[in-house]
Amino acid sequence: MTFLGMPVTAPRGVGHLRGDQPFPEAAREALGNSQLRRNLRHATTTIRGKSGRVIAELPDWQQLRDAGSAIKADVMSRLPELLEQLEERVTAAGGVVHWAADANEANAIVTDLVRRTGSERVIKVKSMATQEIGLNEALEAAGITPVETDLAELIVQLGDDKPSHILVPAIHRNRSEIREIFLRAMPGVDPALTDDPPVLAAAARRYLRETFLSTKVAVSGANFAIADTGTLGVVESEGNGRMCLTLPDTLITVMGIEKVLPTWGDLEVFLQLLPRASTGERMNPYTTMWTGVTPGDGPQNFHLVLLDNGRSAVLADPAGRSALHCIRCSACLNVCPVYERTGGHSYGSVYPGPIGAVLSPQLTGVADNASLPYASSLCGACFDACPVKIDIPSMLVHLRNKVPHPPAERAAMAAAARIMNRPRLYASAQRAAKMARIVGRRGRGLPPPLSGWTAGRDLPEFPKQTFRDWWAQREQP
């Protein structure tokens, strides 16, 4: 078995799955940025309201979630055969399938495919997989210009910024900041540009139109691939996806291996779950589905790159593999009280929020993202919001059990457990703690690491008597 290779995590030094600093430190900056917090609160509150309303319209939302969850579990359990079937169907329909074990290999495959077309520019549809592997950097290093065509990605690219949300990468920017970025970095922009959203959208339309028509290669991700038909799909809003998937001669789609669905009929579940959970729409404006190559219509060269990059390692953990069920709707981000206050950049990875806190550490190995499983109060809002019912809180607890712990914390936890396993010792420790408080300062100022608590909260007064002592006294005749 081992000669075929054991599951491995995503390599270091490429892509965007690891941050530069631990979550609490990265969050500090975001928490101090009141504009960012206002933008995030406004956006997440808006989307929660919209999503809640359209979900309430469906009488069978819970049944759809149950089906979606079960279909994904089924996919994971027979992933090899589904991938082989997908490869066969895509190939039969005129596509070419490539397999990329990690980010480096995927970047090399795509770069080589673009080079062979002779094009020095590619147009891109927003795709998490290509962000994950750092494809834009790899293309630039090879002298190829990647142009992001999704409005939010364009805002991020022009602002020399990083994406902070799965669905709306520029969620941290409000309209006036977007206007400033366009005025500064969009060639040929009307200097009289206002911050009215339709005006900003129209500016992007004008700016990209010529690029769409003159670029011969597009790179996309995929929301799903159907094993029994070889059909791929991209769900979008603006029409930039349609442009990229229709106009160029060559289309290169990079897709994580977990995105495959068994049958065409399974789409009836996911096309209901995804738009309502993600943008809060009954249906997103545009969805394009294609099967290989259609003579005379759309790209005549189609390449599908199937990406592992740590996914097989996620799959290897029975208690963690359902993180691969994620359909990238970002509902969990939108309901997360931690995300709402810290924003996506704090997570360091292209996958922020609750799903990122379970997915990123599994893709990289927990040691490389050790602070992320703790970036949650375990409030459980993400689990309720997830359209495919990923039990994120339980998975966070599971991952916390796997991360390397600081030695001092480990010693303290072991000591606490030992005391708590001896009721008499425990009772005397309760009294000793009380004594310590009486001689110490009242209410404020604990030493680190507990000082974080007393920075914003008082400690409770120690009671005169524990409940245990009260009960013992009461029992005495």
Binding site: P59, S77, M283
Partner: protein, 199 residues
């Protein structure tokens, strides 16, 4: 070893515990649960800023010409029913993108419409044409026969042919990227007009 074999080997190794999964519960409303309700479709189309007209077959051509306005001629796919074709319309016979983009409007039929979501699906049949022709013009006029309207997404999936290029359209081009509010009009057609046939 090829990367293909490497990845498949890793995935098989990852599944060594041979997870047993229960059958997929499909308790949701399947295809055929509800009859399509045209009023629901109209409500949802209008909600997402499409404009709806009820016309007879004989009125399609004039309506499309009017919607194209002064902006330019009407572009039609080669297989559009002759009766619908407006005076002065031009057909897509491998036209260049520039010729397509200069149309005042494109007039097509559709494959299926989903009432519950306000969605029209094109499947590139001869009366709908290549995907590019409904993408570059700024106005898309789409003709629906009432028998093409289904109630829900499962009904549409059951009717569609997956091997064809499919475009699902719900309202005009839009974005939610600025403060998560839906704004119409980005790269795709900024105007979607749906003509529902009454005969």
């Amino acid at each position: 070893m090829s990367s293909r074999d490497l990845i498949l080997g890793r995935v098989r190794a990852a599944l060594r515990d041979a997870p047993v999964v229960a059958a997929v519960p499909r308790e949701y409303r399947p295809a055929g649960t509800n009859r399509a309700d045209l009023e629901v479709l109209v409500d949802r189309l209008v909600d997402y800023k499409a404009e709806v007209y009820r016309v007879t077959s004989a009125e399609v051509a004039a309506t499309a010409a009017r919607l194209a306005g002064e902006g330019g001629a009407v572009l039609v796919p080669p297989g559009l029913p002759g009766e619908w074709r407006p005076e002065g319309a031009y057909a897509d016979e491998n036209l260049t993108p520039d010729r397509i983009a200069e149309a005042g409007a494109v007039l097509t039929a559709a494959a299926v419409a989903v009432a519950e979501t306000g969605t029209i699906v094109l499947d590139a049949s001869p009366d709908q044409g290549r995907r590019i022709i409904t993408l570059l013009p700024d106005v898309h006029v789409c003709v629906l026969r009432p028998d093409q309207v289904v109630a829900s997404v499962p009904d549409a999936i059951a009717r569609l042919e997956p091997g064809r290029p499919l475009t699902w359209i719900s309202g005009p081009s839009a974005t939610s990227d600025i403060e998560l509010n839906r704004v119409e009009g980005v790269h795709g057609p900024r105007h979607l007009h749906v003509l529902i046939l009454t005969d």
